[in-house]
Symmetry: none
Subunit: 226 residues, 2 copies
Amino acid sequence: MITETKLKPISVIIVEDFKLTRVGLRCALNANEDINVVAEAEDAVEGLKLIERHKPDVILMDLGLPGMNGIEAMVKCKEMNFNSKIIALTSHDRSEEVIASLTSGASAYCLKDIDPNKLADVVRDVNTGVCWIDPVVAQMTLNALPKIDNIGVLPDKSHSNGCVPLTEREFEVLKHLVSGKSNTEIAKELIVSVHTAKAHVCSILQKMCVNDRVQAAVKAVKEGMV
Amino acid sequence: MITETKLKPISVIIVEDFKLTRVGLRCALNANEDINVVAEAEDAVEGLKLIERHKPDVILMDLGLPGMNGIEAMVKCKEMNFNSKIIALTSHDRSEEVIASLTSGASAYCLKDIDPNKLADVVRDVNTGVCWIDPVVAQMTLNALPKIDNIGVLPDKSHSNGCVPLTEREFEVLKHLVSGKSNTEIAKELIVSVHTAKAHVCSILQKMCVNDRVQAAVKAVKEGMV
DNA sequence: ATGTCCATTAGACAAGTGGGTAATATTATT
DNA sequence: AATAATATTACCCACTTGTCTAATGGACAT
């Protein structure tokens, strides 16, 4: 059963300047038991405040906002470092806007004429980490990806990163490592001895199959495990 | 759920070498009234023949096929120019594999441990043109998108590297640094002494306003200067 | 020619790093 | 109750890193 029945509902914040659209979104989403719109904002500044206060699971962000636009807002939002997923919502289908959204923190890109039920599905998907892109702009987004030599990509040697998962603690250490902290600083942060920090770093390196912390940091950033 | 009322079902072809997985996929999908698995293949060559014959709406393509691999198969498939949507299916989460799939014609990337009901949803989504990417690899895919910060869409990030520009040589060193090389290795690569390499690294750190090479590497990756 | 910037080299030094090995406590799992 | 995994600490050792001062030659501009 994937029905999220008795779990706590997905909390959502809507940032959208048109009142009518805002009401529409709220109604469409609140019609679902597993989704709960906890707040709404009509501009980015207000939105960011609400996001900071509520730390929602999912943020519906209109791109065409007055004042600070949606993309700037998403950047600031990501800087706050909650784990909120962002759905970019717009009526345009400009290529740069799509790419800019997705590289600025959005996990999904929806056009406003999306079916309300479908939108609820997207909210659920995005909440689990899925990347979802509207049909109208999907192809152009895929075309923007850097081309890689297709042949030889599959040595099928299953290993790379996923094989040995990091423990929670190691993951915590990794985050500090990526932010450029030394072992001593990491130790201080986690309130453990330097020896412990070193031990964690050491096993992180081995599990990630890299030789030093720089490689670990780069790999972590590139693969989005931060 | 969105019940696709009495329209003709979505036709699907499965290309997968493991018989058991194949059966599992077929059962999981055929359990849905609006989805109809019309054919199955256990290798790419056979798969392409079936695809040509049936012109399915959606193709489930395993990447780790014997002989011609799934990515090659997708390229050939796209060359046939039917409008079939492709879902890449694999158990790996290697970054290059994901990108290669999506640039070779796939509209979706699923790991094999996906929930069967979810897979049916993905089939429906993809059939409408959506791009859908598994949570495990979503972030790394988004990170692979080209950064576009010179367009008016994005906030003016002059702080990034604009303060003090790196020289060509330093840039060269930075690239090696990001790839995880030690000063000794960088020196060997550039055919200079270790002292030189260290000197370059030192000025890179100062120009990038960071304290150590890890921070430099992370910043370089995040801001797309590599 | 003079000054400035860059690339190169060098020696020295304090601090940090990564690899060993090994021990103990806590926590799940069986 | 026994086992396994994880977190924690410690010590030692070779090596790396980042900063410092200092020197040399090339390029480019005023």
